[in-house]
């Protein structure tokens, strides 16, 4: 079910500004890969190129190849909409749909795509909410507005919404940066469970979090403000945090800069 991502020679632009340059890496299926690096180094931009959300930004365009198993996401005739059904995303700030109930929020991906059977919907919603460790907290108020939940619950609701469409890959853009430590813990536990079923890529500013949840870690950096961001190295998390092969990574992790 989970798929491998193979990126080669990828650059992303905002208009004429090159935000990331020539990135190549492999993301293994059924694992958690963390992106770390200073602000503005292009981690989030790179993440958004993996499900073609980058081009939603006006002026955004991408060069290079992203292979999802053996399909190029940027190949000719590829529909970004079907890419996004394969590669789901969770955003920095919880963003449940304000007009919809908890139930409808989880069912949104299926309902809005029009491809569902009423009888299956209840099961999918329950399964997704259980998968996001939220079922026990909301099962009695499925018809209440989703925006009435707490921040941590809202973020888990967004995760439930993302996994309800059964993507192959789940991208998370700083999913815990707006949450308290307890909610963060809940989400980190959840990431550990979800990696059994999905390929997970997570952007984080919290290095302890990267060390806790990820199997592999990629370090991004930029030479100077206005220069494009680059991938410095990607390796097993243990190695990155104990004995990285590049000096800049060690400097960043040990807090000598940034």
């Amino acid at each position: 079910m989970a798929k491998r991502i193979d990126v080669s020679g990828l650059s992303a632009y905002y208009g004429s500004f090159r935000a990331i340059e020539d990135i190549s890496m492999t993301v293994e299926p059924r694992s958690v890969t963390a992106f770390i690096g200073p602000s503005g180094c292009g981690k989030s931009t790179f993440l958004r190129t993996l499900n073609r959300m980058h081009e939603v930004t006006p002026g955004g365009r991408v060069e290079g190849k992203v292979m999802l198993d053996d399909e190029n996401l940027y190949g000719a005739g590829v529909d970004p909409v079907s890419v996004r059904r394969e590669v789901g995303m969770v955003f920095q700030r919880p963003n449940p749909f304000p007009t919809m109930s908890v139930y409808d929020n989880v069912a949104a991906g299926l309902k809005l795509n029009g491809s569902y059977k009423k009888s299956q919907l209840d099961d999918i919603v329950e399964k997704s909410l259980k998968g996001a460790n939220l079922w026990n907290e909301v099962k009695d108020r499925l018809n209440k507005p989703g925006s009435g939940l707490s921040g941590g619950q809202q973020q888990r609701l967004c995760i439930a919404r993302a996994i309800a469409v059964e993507p192959k890959v789940l991208l998370m853009d700083e999913p815990c940066s707006a949450l308290d430590p307890i909610s963060t813990l809940a989400i980190e536990d959840l990431i550990g469970e979800l990696k059994e079923r999905f390929t997970i890529v997570i952007v984080t500013h919290n290095m302890q979090q990267a060390a806790r949840v990820s199997d592999r870690t990629a370090f991004f950096n930029l030479a100077a403000v206005g220069q494009p961001g680059k991938l410095i190295e990607i390796d097993d998390t243990e190695r990155i945090f104990s004995n990285p092969s590049v000096q800049a990574t060690e400097d960043y992790i040990s807090g000598r800069f940034g």
């Binding site: 499900n51 959300m53 939603v56 006006p58 909409v81 079907s82 890419v83 996004r84 059904r85 394969e86 789901g88 995303m89 955003f91 700030r93 963003n95 749909f97 304000p98 007009t99 949104a108 991906g109 309902k111 809005l112 795509n113 029009g114 108020r141 209440k144 507005p145 925006s147 009435g148 967004c158 919404r161 993302a162 469409v165």
Partner: protein
């Protein structure tokens, strides 16, 4: 006064008592009346203006004396806001009061359910049934034309429009906002003449639609811009196509605001007289068909009753009653819009 006693603490200064603004207001009104009676100024408006000036400056000097300069500036700002508020509300309240007082004289079931027919303009009797029918039909048709076009234009501008075309559309919408209603009427009139057609409620509705469209575009545009981008991205990231995202996520989120905007636009065109005068012409008899023949309409009825009255009390009363009906119509629409906006707006309850 105990409140004027200087406190020893450096954080506590002397404060005017809570009731002091009211006292100053009453005082300045009294002084103004006295002053005006003494000097023989008769205009009530001048009385009011003098009282307002006395209030603003009185507040400043009293506060400056007791509380200090900074608090005095604070109080002068507050008092000017209040004076501006009262200046704005007085004409509105007096207009509503005057219309209710004069309009309620002949406004009854008979007035609402009968038309002028053969009743002469100078005699009592008759009613506004034909005018109500005309206004409802013309405004209804104009809304049916203008709202879809306006909302779709706004969706284009916010969700799709880039570059020259979008800028041109925005520019022309701005220009359209400034079109005088008589010009919109003349534009449709020229079309009528070119195609050799005659007066009808539909022609009036076309002109009203021209006036309504830019208002709908503007308000819808603002409402769509208020929808957070995160919601669009959340929906797109679920693999929902853009058009469905707009239809199922963006529009429902903005629906309350869009409805309010549409209702305000309806209220604006319901009172338009000029294009109706040119294109609908007015009709004392009931004409239920908006596509053929002259129709009546409320604003036009008011104008005609006033213009053709020849000093007759009965015609004046009918004009006021029709004005009251029009105001009530617009107000009911506004209340309905607010109700819909509250009902449809994003829920935050737990």
């Amino acid at each position: 006064m105990s409140t004027l006693v200087q406190h020893p603490s450096s954080l506590q200064g002397a404060r005017l008592p809570k009731w002091s603004p009211w006292a100053i207001a009453v005082g300045s009104v009294a002084v103004s009346i006295g002053l005006c009676v003494a000097t023989g100024i008769e205009s009530k408006i001048q009385w009011g203006l003098i009282a307002a000036l006395l209030f603003v400056f009185g507040t400043y000097f009293i506060a400056a004396g007791v509380e200090g300069k900074r608090q005095a500036k604070d109080r002068i700002a507050t008092s000017m806001v209040w004076v501006a508020f009262i200046i704005a509300v007085v004409p509105l309240a007096s207009l509503v009061w005057e219309t209710v007082k004069r309009g309620s004289k002949v406004l009854d079931g008979y007035f609402l359910s009968h038309s002028m027919g053969v009743v002469s303009d100078t005699e009592p009797g008759g009613g506004i049934y034909a005018a109500i029918i005309g206004t409802l039909e013309q405004v209804g048709i104009a809304t049916l034309i203008a709202v879809p076009i306006g909302v779709l234009t706004a969706i284009y501008l916010v969700e799709y429009g880039r570059g020259h075309l979008a800028r041109a559309v925005t520019f022309f919408v701005d220009v359209m906002t400034g079109i005088p209603s008589i010009v919109a009427g003349l534009f449709i009139l020229s079309l009528l003449l070119i195609f050799d057609m005659s007066f009808s409620g539909f022609a009036g509705a076309l002109a009203l639609a021209i006036l309504m469209m830019p208002v709908v575009v503007r308000s819808t545009e603002e409402m769509l811009k208020l929808v957070p981008n995160e919601l669009r991205e959340a929906s797109l990231a679920l693999g929902v196509p853009k058009w469905r995202t707009i239809l199922k996520v963006v529009l429902p989120t903005a629906l309350g605001g869009i409805t309010t905007g549409v209702m305000l636009a309806v209220a604006r065109i319901a009172g338009e007289t000029a294009p109706v005068l040119l294109l609908v012409f007015g009709n004392p008899f009931i004409n239920n068909n908006p596509f053929e023949g002259a129709q009546a309409s409320l604003p036009l009825y008011i104008y005609q009753q006033y213009a053709n009255s020849a000093g007759s009390e009965a015609a004046y009363d009918r004009a006021w009653a029709a004005a009251l009906t029009l105001i009530a119509f617009v107000m009911i629409l506004n209340l309905a819009a607010r109700g819909i906006a509250r009902w449809k707006s994003p829920k935050t309850g737990r």
